[in-house]
């Protein structure tokens, strides 16, 4: 059993977005050889959940939400090598490949989606902006990903989302990954028309959608 007080400090560090404090607590947990999965599940995850709740209630704005998400990320990357040493895997809701499609450099929305997915327990590989379709797919295969998330902000580059589905089909990979699409010109109908698995209009609903789909 891990001390209640310690767990609540972890939670608070994430809620407050105090990255240094969160990392310090994480390091101590490693030094004291605590069960890291319990530390994550009972200490840090409740923190990011609380930050998400506060955002939904309208008490937290993006700067608070993102600092909490970044603190969570920092903690997770600190735990990663430790877990590997013990041949453990961090509990993850799934692996996500995310990026902005080729020809498109709009990446703010994509970054928000990536942050929230990772803060909500997904293992997120962010390929950046202007990413080739083939690179998305190759990476997804290599990482045995569960999701491919594609952001497009231009009407021209939105078409590439369709091309991606086509390429997945031609490689017999359609259905292997759940494809989520988003960005300003994209809507639910487009997602359905091209045969994507889902669309979300903002980062929070993207995280929710991914969670629902992950459980399927």
């Amino acid at each position: 059993m891990i001390e209640k007080n310690r767990l609540s400090q972890m939670k608070q560090a994430i809620v407050k977005g105090d990255k240094e404090k969160a990392q310090k607590l994480a390091r101590q947990a490693v030094e004291d050889d605590l069960n890291l999965n319990d530390v994550i599940e009972e200490g840090f995850v409740p923190g990011i959940q609380e930050a998400g709740n506060l955002w939904e209630k309208g008490e937290y704005f993006l700067p608070e939400l993102i600092t909490s998400a970044e603190s969570m990320k920092a903690v997770m990357s600190l735990f990663q090598p430790e877990l590997e040493k013990k041949n453990l895997k961090a509990k993850s809701l799934g692996t996500v490949i995310i990026g902005t499609i080729e020809g498109d450099i709009h990446d703010i929305g994509k970054n928000l989606v990536a942050s929230l997915l990772s803060a909500n327990g997904f293992d997120v590989k962010d390929l950046g902006a202007d990413v080739k379709i083939s690179e998305f797919i190759q990476k997804a295969e290599n990482e045995e990903a569960d999701f491919i998330c594609v952001s497009s902000l231009l009407t021209t580059t939105m078409l590439k989302q369709k091309d991606m589905i086509k390429m997945l089909k031609s490689k017999n990979l359609y259905g292997k990954f759940k494809v989520l699409v988003g960005g300003a010109p994209v809507n639910k109908k487009w997602a359905q028309d091209i045969g994507a698995d889902g669309y979300a209009e903002n980062a929070m609903s993207a995280a929710k959608l991914a969670k629902t789909l992950a459980q399927k």
């Binding site: 309208g58 704005f61 993006l62 700067p63 020809g103 450099i105 703010i108 929305g109 928000l112 231009l154 009407t155 021209t156 939105m158 078409l159 300003a184 010109p185 903002n202 980062a203």
Partner: protein
């Protein structure tokens, strides 16, 4: 006669402008800008700028910026399609043009958004052409019935055919410049004549923070060489892609635009450049980029002041709204923005018609906003002295029955002193009720119907052939064998 005072509003003191510029110059020299375009990097190197290769980071010395500032013109001329009417961009001149590149259109019948077709684009262009207070057209909507890849050249193709007004437009791909330039040259007759009488402005946006992408830098270089004015559209989003303080964002905004200005001047000294932008006060709750926020308008007005200080023409995305329908919010945000822009002396104001964070055009809103533009333009004309004696003589023969309606003085001046809106409601209540209790959007829809009933004034058939040739070549290169038929013709 006492000349009318040009009403103005300013947000920055002289010393504040200097402080912003000092930091901006230091920023360019010390931290530089990222330039992802080979040709632009080469131009910088030739001009002696230090370039850090791995990330294509260019450090720009104050002397280089000063030199660019000294060769850039302080006013620009733009001509309509026939090359007859001249528009001066600079000084205190104000011109409105519709907000550009909307990905959707608000359908008046259903009050919901849908993807625009070529038919909508033609309507949009024709309505813009009829708007008396909107001087320039813009390639305002993206047609969903042509492949997106040729969306940039196609919207110009339609614009040039259905309106005589000069065009504010832009490229979506590096290859887009060539066909677009060819079309403009086709209208003028030769490259030289296009340089003499520019017909279009090309928008180019740096990528905040501090980056000029390959596409946009190429657009600057190509435009400079062709004598086409470039509009530099820096668009920091406070707290997301630029500092959260308004003054901090102004430093970055100015730095990005000045780096763009240097690229233009290095490509061709003396090339026309407009100091513009579309920054926004990023909404920290929603992650959206509100154009109707008062802070957005403040950043716009303030950088316009900086542009004037630097002796450059200014542009801003103002007079638009984030509302999704033509409601009170749409009116209040557009009205406020247009008036502030006019008072700030923004030379090119892009906005009319736009809703939903620069993503949706509404034909009805365009017609409503035209009235806003009319009022803003009237406002900045100020109050002039019309007669030697202002009023005294009108009271010479005053009696208790005196009225002014029949006085020659009234007849002489009323149309110059007052403007008469087309669709703003000034009916008596009963008259309004008798006409079916219409909202302003409904009245706008009626005006649109009337405009579209008018016969289309077609361009010279030779020119039409030339434009079509350019367009078809571009379409074929991109795998399209025919263009959508326009039903309304």
């Amino acid at each position: 006669m006492i000349k009318a005072l040009r009403p103005k509003y300013e947000l920055l003191s002289e010393s504040f402008i200097k402080k912003i510029l000092n930091e901006c110059f230091e920023l360019l020299e010390k931290y530089g800008v990222f330039v992802e375009n080979q040709e632009a990097v080469k131009l910088f190197k030739q001009a002696g700028a230090e370039v850090h290769e791995p990330e294509q980071r260019v450090f720009i010395k104050p002397e280089l910026v000063d030199r660019a500032l000294s060769t850039a013109p302080s006013t620009i001329e733009l001509y309509d399609r026939p090359g007859e009417q001249k528009f001066i961009i600079g000084g205190d001149q104000v011109h409105f043009d519709p907000g550009s590149a909307a990905v959707s259109i608000l359908d008046h019948e259903t009050n919901s958004q849908r993807k625009p077709t070529s038919e909508d684009l033609v309507k949009f262009v024709r309505i813009t052409d009829s708007m008396e207070h909107i001087d320039f057209q813009s390639t305002g909507v993206i047609s969903s019935d042509v492949p997106e890849i040729i969306g940039d050249s196609y919207r110009l193709y339609i614009g040039l055919q259905y309106s005589r007004k000069p065009v504010v437009t832009g490229t979506f791909r590096v290859e887009g410049f060539q066909p677009m330039h060819d079309m403009l040259v086709a209208v003028r007759g030769s490259k030289e004549k296009l340089k003499e009488k520019p017909l279009a402005i090309l928008d180019a946006c740096p990528s905040p923070p501090l980056k000029w992408s390959n596409l946009t830098a190429q657009s600057l270089i190509d435009s400079a060489r062709a004598g086409i004015p470039s509009e530099l559209i820096s668009m920091g989003m406070t707290g997301a892609t630029s500092p959260v303080t308004l003054a901090g964002t102004l430093v970055q905004h100015t730095a990005e635009n000045l780096a763009g200005l240097v690229i233009c001047q290095l490509a061709c000294a003396g090339s026309p450049v407009i100091f513009g932008g579309s920054p926004s006060s990023f909404d920290m709750r929603k992650g959206t980029t509100p154009m109707g926020a008062v802070e957005t308008m403040m950043i716009d007005s303030a950088y316009t002041q900086i542009a004037k200080h630097l002796n450059l023409p200014a542009h801003a995305y103002m007079g638009l709204s984030d509302s999704k329908i033509n409601d009170n919010q749409a009116g209040l945000e557009s009205g406020m923005g247009a008036v502030l822009a006019a008072l700030a002396g923004v030379n090119v104001i892009s906005g009319p018609g736009m809703l939903d964070f620069e993503s949706c055009q509404s034909l009805e809103k365009l017609v409503i906003d035209n009235e806003i533009c009319g009022m803003a333009l009237r406002l900045i004309k100020g109050i002039s002295q019309r007669d030697e004696t202002l009023a005294l003589n009108l009271f010479e023969d005053i009696t208790p029955e005196t009225q002014f309606l029949s006085k020659p003085h009234t007849r002489k001046w009323y149309r110059q002193e007052h403007i008469f809106p087309e669709i703003i409601d000034r009916d008596t209540h009963d008259e309004w009720e008798g006409k079916g209790k219409k909202s302003i959007a409904d009245r706008a829809a009626c005006r649109i119907e009337n405009i579209l009933k008018q016969p289309v004034e077609l361009i010279d058939s030779e020119l039409q052939k030339d434009l079509k040739k350019v367009m078809m070549a571009d379409a074929k290169r991109n795998g399209l064998s025919s263009l959508p038929k326009i039903k309304s013709l």
